[in-house]
């Protein structure tokens, strides 16, 4: 496995891989890899011939009051984990390498970036789409793999790839959870013992929504009310949003029908945590 920092070096390696006719799988990450990332990397390993994992904490996608400075950095453990899984290249560019001069070009996906995290993190998805476009152009993958936990991100990136005719496929891998249901996240490391216990309520609320729908309820406001009750069992949890949306358009729906995304974002101590489930009703 190679760890590559320079874009030009990576491009030369990729050109060789392309010439050899190999199918390239790409997993973009911000590092601090956990079992969620590893399951995505395994999917890439199984479905493609040559796996590139990028590790880049993209400053552009963090707001001024967000956690870029404290975002966990574990490069040695990350590369060791990648090596164990048979990754071919870890691409870990510097900020100066990715943004050598003032970046004037932004890729904006309208509508899909407005609700959910887009409302609370202005400019976030514009920066995510832009850095993914950059990474796709550098790595030139046949397939890029994302995680279902960042549901809105996957939907935005899929739309970008389709609208801009980018020559790659997007595969979204299932959320990996701790034994008690908490979705794996690099930000879980911010939680103290008490907060970690309360964090289980996020997935509990989503499961409650599923049960409530299975029982025949369809009204989104009632669903949201049920989920709210569960999250409010912890005084530490500050709800940012609970939303029931059409999973294709990300428009909020009054009645849960069809392909539905149920999504939650909360603040818990120093962490901002998100989770979601997709339901086919």
């Amino acid at each position: 496995m190679k760890v590559v920092e320079k874009i030009e070096e990576l491009k030369q390696l990729i050109a060789q891989v392309k010439t050899a006719g190999k199918k390239i799988g790409f997993v973009p990450t911000m590092g601090a890899l956990h079992a969620g990332h590893f399951s995505i990397i395994k999917a890439a390993r199984e479905q493609t011939d040559f796996v590139v994992v990028s590790i880049f904490v993209n400053p552009a996608q963090f707001g001024p009051a967000e956690d870029i400075d404290k975002y966990p950095k574990t490069l040695d453990a990350d590369t060791a984990g990648c090596e164990k899984l048979g990754v071919d290249i870890v691409f870990a560019p510097t900020v100066a390498g990715m943004y050598p001069s003032e970046n004037l070009t932004w890729v904006n996906v309208e509508k899909l970036t407005e609700p959910l995290c887009g409302r609370n993190r202005p400019g976030h998805f514009r920066a995510v789409a832009t850095v993914c476009a950059k990474l796709f152009n550098i790595v030139q993958p046949d397939i890029a793999f994302f995680g279902q936990k960042d549901a809105q991100q996957s939907i935005v990136i899929k739309q970008m790839v389709s609208d801009l005719n980018m020559p790659l496929e997007i595969i979204v891998c299932p959320t990996v959870r701790e034994p008690d249901g908490l979705a794996m996240s690099s930000r879980n490391s911010y939680l103290d013992t008490e907060e970690r216990k309360d964090a289980v309520l996020i997935y509990a609320a989503l499961k409650e929504a599923e049960l409530f729908i299975t029982a025949g309820h369809r009204k989104s406001s009632e669903l949201i009310g049920e989920m709210e009750k569960i999250l409010k069992l912890s005084s530490r949890i500050k709800i940012e949003y609970i939303s029931v949306l059409d999973s294709r358009t990300l428009e909020e729906i009054e009645q849960a029908n069809g392909e539905v995304l149920v999504a939650i974002a909360v603040k818990l101590g120093q962490a901002r945590l998100i989770d979601n489930i997709m339901l086919n009703i």
Copy 2:
């Protein structure tokens, strides 16, 4: 030479050309090809192994009051001209092919799109950058060729390619002129006999700016004044802008020094005409 309408068909052909290790040259056009386009196509033919010319009048880059409906359409003559020059593929997609559903993704290049034509054609360069990103992703050229007449367009596209790490090079070809100096443009066909005579004043004004600078003058306001005098020799010419700018940042400069872009846009009868010269002072 093949004329291809379907994106999927083109992609398959391109994949074969890539596998054969050929260097792809790409000339994006809106059709109504003239000697200016042909000189760009010749450059592509000389510098690459496989030449793709696209013909697509992109609705997104025309404003509601602009000339999309009357924009000249000469597909048969265009393909004949391309064939004569040894083009390999003319790619002529339909609007429905390029925009199969509502387009939500836009590529915006900040700052460089604000002055000059950006001021008078809001949304124009966002649509140009977006359609070029789409075409680059479809055609996957090694080099894309543009014309110097659309100076701002070339500068915007170069910035996009650099910022988004697109895997291609941009080459800008010199403006081709009629014997009397008028820059070749598909829109020249809108001019009646009298307007065509007056149109020569645009290039005359630019040459006057060059002479004025050669004589030692540097003050942009004086340069603009001199050019204005010449354009005002015709009562038919309505000046949209006369600008003296830093050719890299497209910021207006008070003193003409370094790499300078002198650019003019006018309305003349039914036509909106642009022209420019680059000066190294």
